[in-house]
Symmetry: C2
Subunit: 292 residues, 2 copies
């Protein structure tokens, strides 16, 4: 199991990334990490720690202040492209970055391609009633009703890979009654009733941190991002340190920009687990997409 | 100080409403409560408690499952109309209901009129860094950039009435950098930079429960409702039991449908405090609206 890791992503790169890589391989002998970044930087950091890891060269990074899609297209030697090129070629099984999510997503779409029209960021929120898969947690602010259905299908396959046999899907809304919400929710509700998922109707903001009515909660990326950050701000419990890009043709896990070594190690372990569960094959089968 | 209280609003009406009314008047001798509902019901409940309160007759209520605007227009004897008629006539200084917010809002707009194009539900979230006024917490799911500016102006006057001299206004978004978010946020950001408020830029979901960057946070009613319920679901602390309808030409306080007597008493006390602070006069002055 080989994971391509972006050495230049995150506020505490490259140190936190190297520390996370070493933690991950030390904890799970089945996991190999390939560092993707400037070889001289990697060599110096590894030497300082008396360790060695495979390194693949990539010398550019896409910053928080750049337009992600434009930045990724302009920088052919960007780490967020190379981690995905390694997955596409079969050299690695998954990609991990704690750099800007928009740039990682752009690199994934450009290099791996998509298996749904609009990829989403999926986060697993631990609750007393079991894990809740929330998507989109921030890939795209503007969403269509059809894309919310696509999120429901992808989220169902993800929840199944995580162990829920028949995931219940809820539409995030401002009340549980049908007919609630803006036009997007009204239209999505009608489509979800006919979609090949176990749709249980509208759920509300508190149903994500508390769990209960739904195993998968779908929403637009604006609301999902605000919701997740509100839970983080209000909660004393730790939220997951990693998220999955769902809808690209590969396994890509992203983390907070503020990730430390432990957080990076959690992202690598998450990616390795999803590879082991055969998530991509499940998603392709669900969506009737052939292997690349 | 007289508060008109909807006897028929809420899941536990009329008992919880009567109990709340009695708690409120017992705690603050300056507060009088006028019960608005079926006189026979009020008389029986008061007799059972060995108490008396003034009662004004209104015999209809608007349910959770009704279209609020249509229901309020059709029911001329609805409590959510009569509580506002008492304010309009000057018999009472404020109205309180823990019935469906949409119906209370429709009753307020129909009976009192508006002082802004789109009223909002404003909630005060207590944080370690001081109170944060969040609006819109659920009056209207679809919002325009101009309405977000109106929310900023109203929220500023509200925060001033609550004691913050120069409130900082933040736009709820998915990141702090300018240019973040959907078209609504991009357009609202540009307008807020030129608006007569102390605009401090974008804030994120965690900035509402934690406080810090802004005293007033503006957003659409869909996102605001989801955010508030997420905080309630994730938090161990009690959130405020009352919210203010901001933008109608009067003081109207609403509460949760699940309100018990303590919650109703908190709503009455909140309304009385805002009357005492001269909130409506401040709002009218800020918006250059003459007294009705």
């Amino acid at each position: 199991m080989r994971v391509a890791l972006d050495l230049l992503g995150g506020d505490h790169a490259p140190d936190a990334v190297i520390d996370g890589a070493l933690l991950a391989v030390d904890r799970d002998p089945a996991v190999e990490v390939v560092l993707v970044g400037p070889p001289a930087v990697a060599a110096a950091l590894l030497a300082a720690r008396g360790r060695s890891l495979p390194v693949v060269a990539a010398r550019e990074s896409v910053g928080m202040d750049e337009d992600p899609a434009r930045g990724v297209r302009a920088k052919r030697d960007a780490t967020v492209r190379t981690i995905h090129a390694l997955v596409r070629s079969g050299s690695c099984d998954a990609a991990v970055s704690v750099g800007p999510t928009g740039a990682v997503l752009a690199g994934a779409v450009l290099t791996l391609g998509r298996i749904s029209s609009r990829p989403a960021v999926a986060v697993v929120v631990p609750t007393a009633a079991g894990p809740v898969v929330l998507l989109d947690a921030g890939a795209t602010s503007e969403t269509t009703p059809e894309q919310l259905v696509s999120h429901a299908v992808l989220g169902t396959a993800y929840a199944q890979a995580l162990g829920t046999a028949h995931p219940r899907v809820g539409l995030l809304n401002v009340g549980t009654e049908p007919g609630k919400g803006d036009q997007l929710r009204k239209d999505a509700f009608a489509l979800l009733e006919r979609a090949p998922v176990r749709f249980v109707g509208n759920v509300e903001g508190h149903d994500v941190p508390r769990g209960g009515p739904a195993d998968v909660v779908v929403t637009d990326g604006f609301t999902g991002n605000v919701l997740l950050k509100a839970i983080e701000g209000a909660s004393t419990q730790d939220l997951p340190r990693s998220a999955l890009l769902l809808g690209v043709d590969g396994i890509t896990v992203v983390g907070h920009g503020a990730s430390d070594g432990e957080d990076v190690a959690a992202c690598v372990a998450h990616a390795a687990r999803l590879v082991g569960e055969g998530l991509l094959e499940r998603l392709r089968a669900t969506l009737n997409v052939g292997a690349a």
